[in-house]
């Protein structure tokens, strides 16, 4: 018999799937327990309501994506290598799992201000991890908010693709995403070079 923690995990996974498929607003607790194959009692043993469950599921998604990004990056590699590898990992994950991607980037916007806050925190964490500010800036004094600008540019582009149902085309966008992430730090000339290299494979 599955343990309590396993069932909790199954509920969170189900929440990510159902929200990615139906959208946050249309998702009900009934949908989630059906997908997870658990009883309503089990659901409410673990979570107060749909919203609380979604926030926990969102944290899970963030840790998973960040975990993959960190695993894909050799910490001793130059920052540019890390950025390229990390961004490629995010894009591949999203392309392979559009439900996860929609939950992570699009539907989170429908789940209230605290979910939205988690989204921005996560995007900023990813960006700052990838773009090691000091190395990138080369002694320039850059705005404190620069990570957020880069994050906004990248997540805006991904958002538009997902909203129009083109998750599988995200890998084609990788060169542009790389440009968007790098340009606040290194400027359009150098970022265009990197974009061309990425496009050439």
């Amino acid at each position: 018999m599955a343990g309590s923690e396993t069932r909790r995990q199954a509920i969170l996974e189900a929440m990510v799937r159902v929200v990615g498929r139906k959208g946050y607003k249309a998702t009900s607790v009934a949908d989630v327990i059906e997908e997870a194959d658990v009883s309503r009692t089990t659901f409410y043993k673990h979570f107060e309501d749909k919203h609380e469950c979604f926030l926990a599921a969102y944290d899970l998604v963030v840790e998973r994506v960040l975990g993959e990004v960190i695993d894909s990056c050799d910490p001793t590699a130059p920052w540019l290598e890390r950025i390229r590898a990390g961004l490629a990992t995010v894009v591949e994950m999203f392309a392979l799992d559009p439900e996860l991607a929609r939950t992570a980037i699009v539907e989170v916007a429908a789940a209230g201000a605290d979910a939205r806050q988690r989204h921005w925190d996560a995007v900023t964490r990813v960006t700052e991890f990838l773009a090691d500010g000091e190395q990138l800036a080369e002694g320039r004094e850059l705005p404190a908010n620069i990570g957020l600008m880069a994050a906004g540019a990248v997540s805006g582009l991904i958002f538009d693709e997902l909203l129009t149902g083109r998750a599988e085309r995200l890998p084609e966008l990788l060169p542009d995403l790389l440009f968007a992430l790098l340009v606040p730090y290194i400027g359009p000339g150098a970022a265009t070079e990197e974009m061309r290299r990425a496009a050439a494979g």
Binding site: N145, M149, G156, D176, V183, G187, P188
Partner: protein, 222 residues
């Protein structure tokens, strides 16, 4: 929460009065429009009822139906109004004489001012997007389209502009949106105008790079 703007507005006296009927109707319509943005911002488009609107606006249900066919028409009229004001003010500031950085700075300053004055509209468009409903989301996207020239002109201004990715204006808009949304999520709508230098930097940087962007920020927004 008391939100002054609507509350302080002059209302026709209750009961029998001699105001021309079109004046009364106009004021009732405006109150309903304001109520619609407020109610949707609070509870979401899906949950809004006509009862919520008539109560907030202090008008009767009969009056509501004299002015609007249904709640969707009322909310979308409100949203369209607000977006129209925003786009016009931003573009009027942007279309002043001068070079791109000057005009972009003026347009962005106007954008931040309008959003600070209309925090509910700002949150509805940029943060609680799910609350707005699909029709308002389409209108938001159309409004962003109309603002795109403010960003895209950077391509003509920048020395290597033609070689930039086709998505450059979307990146700039994403950077600006990220900054504004972050401030709204933190509940600091009234401080949006202070973001001008960062928002301006985010607009310039994909076109002219961090060094030139920092110089323009220093020159035009400090």
């Amino acid at each position: 929460m008391e939100r002054g703007r609507g509350g302080d507005r002059w209302r026709p006296p209750r009961g029998r009065h001699r105001l021309p009927p079109q004046v009364v109707a106009r004021s009732q319509r405006e109150r309903l429009l304001e109520a619609a943005v407020r109610v949707v911002a609070e509870k979401g488009y899906g949950a809004m009822t006509i009862g919520d609107l008539t109560k907030q606006a202090g008008v009767s249900r009969t009056t509501f139906y004299e002015l609007f066919d249904d709640k969707e028409r009322c909310f979308l009229a409100a949203y369209d109004n607000a977006v129209e004001v925003l786009v016009r003010r931003v573009m009027a500031a942007y279309e002043a004489p001068g070079e791109w950085p000057e005009r972009a700075a003026a347009g962005l300053a106007a954008l931040l001012e309008v959003l600070a004055e209309e925090p509910e509209l700002a949150r509805l468009s940029l943060v609680d997007i799910g609350n707005a409903g699909p029709a308002a989301q389409r209108r938001y996207r159309a409004a962003v389209q109309r603002l795109t020239p403010l960003f895209e002109e950077g391509r003509d201004y920048a020395p290597g502009g033609r070689g930039l990715p086709a998505n450059t204006s979307r990146m700039a808009i994403g950077g600006v949106t990220g900054l504004i949304a972050d401030e709204l999520v933190a509940g600091r709508a009234e401080r949006l105008p202070d973001l001008l230098s960062d928002v301006f930097f985010a607009t310039l940087v994909p076109y002219i790079g961090p060094d030139a962007a920092a110089r323009e920020v220093e020159r035009l927004t400090r």
